[in-house]
Amino acid sequence: MTDATIDVEASERLEIKADADVVKVRQATRNLATKAALSLVEQTKVVTAASELARNTLVHGGGGTARIDLVRSNQRGGVRATFTDHGPGIPDVNLALTEGYTTGTGLGLGLSGSRRLVDEFDLRTEVGGGTEVTILKWGR
């Protein structure tokens, strides 16, 4: 997702420390998705994915940050969101991405589900070093 042809037109950076911050991430994602001219269904999908990942950052990562970008490439608008924490990291990424796998608090749909809702999904994690997840959704 470091493709050089992607221009960032606007950015918002948010701390994720409490429940209320998850709501703020949703609102910021919705705001930029509207500006990127995503359809209502595309907006709803990317906001839902951002909500899942922001909650993961809070619950599993012990808090962190979200950066949400309005991006453009070849006239096409999109939203990119990056979630970073310095929590325990994910020991088995394949397992974590398996639908229905859960550490006990949820339905196990957070990671696998949000991956299905977006066009690009990138997960970097290191045990003891934290986790960074980036998603990107393009308008049609």
Binding site: V23, K45, R55, L107, L117
Partner: protein, 142 residues
Amino acid sequence: MVDRVPILRIGDALLVSIQLDLQDQIAVQLQEDLAQKIVDTGARGVVIDISALEIVDSFIGRMLSSIAGIAKILDAETVVVGMRPAVAITLVELGLYLNDVRTVLTVERAFAVIAERSEGAALLSKLDDQGHDEVGPDDVST
């Protein structure tokens, strides 16, 4: 202090209209408040209006399922009303089918579902009161 979602009583039913962007803690509080209110009022149904919700993620979806489960154990039926089409599309793609939650499109239909259930219960208790002999033979004897 955490905000609360108001719960209104209308006849045999409780009506909850979620008007704010739901924080996880408020959703958990709503679950507890509803359980208490069902017991306090003897409500036969719970109508949850989510027409103002722009998204339902896995946490909120799970909350709807568990409210339905709790209400069922407490002898009340839960009906979720007014899901936006984009929300339905997203939920299914997320993998959340809400199989255990009754959904309808309008509040009128939700109350009709609950009224049917209440009438059914009322009829049964009437049968019990009267004793089976005195009711029309064709209806009961078999």
